[in-house]
Symmetry: C2
């Protein structure tokens, strides 16, 4: 059994009220009483109950975080930076890894509410009607990180995906490429799916370049889908001279497929990714990528949420800057 406050009082030979006064840091407690109480606390290993204190203070110092997949280096890096800043502000995270399962998201949001978390961070935009209704009524500050679902009153921390994809495609065009393929994400996603696709299409259109049959395909952001979609493209029709993938993971999958087919990157095919994850530096050739400021994204997310918890009411989005990082996977034609 964990020791209770009365055990501390008994061991120190003082009243429960005195222990409580010492714990609450009140003045006018005699030094020798203080010393006896502290000694008893140390010896017993007593910790005041957070739960009991929460009921009194109405503060739990908890933040709930919904992560789609913690094994993705992109989300893990955001999470790691959220944690760092939260911890500096004495907040603790309850992290729920939904592994792309919307039903789990709904369940966890209910848990967050039950736990009286002070704020919620969601890194996921596949909301169903049940979830939309629930967060609408929840009355807890909420912020979306790295995504911006349609029709939500809550703020987001994002980049301009469309502009970033436009620039990534423009970079390939500037290198002289015309047969530029696109490996997109999930088109149900407003930001990373639709936004990046729209940017690619616009850049091709603005430069008067027709898109070849079979050169636009959609995956799930993961390496395996990049590999398979690239294999499909190699299966028939003319090979692209450059590929723009909507995630670094899919870009690495595409590179690996080309490698396994005996084609060289960037000599035969140039590949550009999106995200700026750790992978870009791990693969050979190192991957040129349109970088999101992943660390900053985590930090800004938690800062904005703490502002909301502190009573600030602005729900404007924070749109962070993307930037092209040129490494070794693209080549002029």
């Amino acid at each position: 059994m964990a020791p209770k406050i009365k055990d501390v009082a008994q061991k120190a030979g003082v009243s429960v009220t005195t222990v409580s006064r010492v714990l609450n840091g009140e003045k006018y407690v005699k030094d020798d009483l203080k010393a006896r109480v502290k000694k008893a606390i140390d010896e017993l290993g007593y910790t005041p109950s957070h739960i009991a204190r929460s009921l009194v203070r109405k503060k739990t110092n908890l933040i709930g975080v919904i992560v789609p997949d913690v094994t993705s280096s992109f989300y893990a890096t955001i999470l790691s930076n959220i944690e760092k800043t939260a911890s500096l502000n004495d907040y603790n995270l309850i992290v729920c890894n939904i592994i792309e399962d919307i039903d789990k998201e709904y369940k966890y949001l209910q848990v967050f509410k039950e736990m009286r978390v002070e704020g919620v961070i969601v890194m996921h935009e596949k909301l169903n009607d049940e979830i939309r209704e629930f967060i609408d009524k929840m009355d807890i500050p909420l912020i979306f990180s790295s995504v911006k679902p349609n029709d939500q009153k809550f703020g987001s921390v994002i980049i301009d995906d469309r502009a970033a994809a436009y620039e990534a495609t423009g970079y390939l065009i500037g290198l002289g490429h015309r047969r530029i393929a696109f490996i997109g994400g999930d088109m149900r996603d407003v930001t990373s799916g639709q936004g990046r696709y729209a940017g690619y299409m616009q850049a091709m259109h603005d430069n008067g370049i027709a898109i070849e049959q079979g050169h636009v395909r959609f995956g799930d952001y993961k390496t395996q889908s990049g590999y398979e979609l690239m294999a499909d493209m190699c299966g028939g029709g003319e090979l692209p001279t450059a590929v723009f993938a909507a995630s670094d993971d899919m870009a690495v999958g595409a590179m690996n497929c080309l490698h396994d087919k005996g084609l060289k990157v960037p000599e035969d095919v140039s590949v550009i990714g999106f995200d700026g994850s750790q992978l870009t530096e791990l693969v050979r050739p190192r991957l040129t990528s349109m970088e999101q400021p992943i660390r900053e994204m985590g930090q800004v997310t938690i800062e904005k949420l703490l502002d909301l918890i502190a009573g600030q009411t602005s729900r404007e989005d924070a749109v962070l800057r993307h930037r092209l990082v040129v490494r070794d996977s693209c080549k002029a034609r």
Copy 2:
């Protein structure tokens, strides 16, 4: 303001006691009263306070997890599998990412105790005296996952690192290699540091192979250190024909260094890693590795912890099976 139980009672036109009886699922509540209470709960978006209920039930359904670094794919995969099984058993995780900071670990353990978590998982073995004393007194079921610190009364879920490293080295010897270098981990770590080093040394000794000057070096498990230590080895003395790295990340770092120096893996130098992380399949050539059953490790960890929470007292270690997975990064001499 979040609605309270009395708001539900008022809206449903019943007493607080009736609402409470409905919430607690008691029998003998008339169906029409039940329906009115449920309607009022839905309309108000009322959620019973988890905190208040915890005080009554003395169950929080929380498990605290200390992760050294969530951006490492090894830990993220274990965590993801812990989460999966915990969630199936209605437990929620409080995840604390200590980013290798022991002071943070101590702070979080205190938070866990304050929060009345029912169990604690630690994936880290750099315990200082303060932490040792604290967990000794904490009186909460605790389990170590993937590590086994010295002199601890708590159980661990691990593999036999020494035997696994012995086999990895033996594999290279079997391929005809003699100049086999070792890139080790942190020698303060009993399992992944000392255990893997001991296995390598033993295998070399048992086969009567002398270790060349400068061919044993120690890093921090990360890619960057594998890269740098390999670069040091290339800087002078005779190049090894094979390298055994104590983590896949360091193995990939070593491979990248060799690549950047114009050397070919496995034609010029064979490389074998340790862990069996996602990286092994992402790099080219694909990395041969001594695989830990990472998914199983997460699952067994949480299963053993739930047993402890349920009152089981066995604190035996679970030693899981490692296995060599041969891919494309090693070659016979």
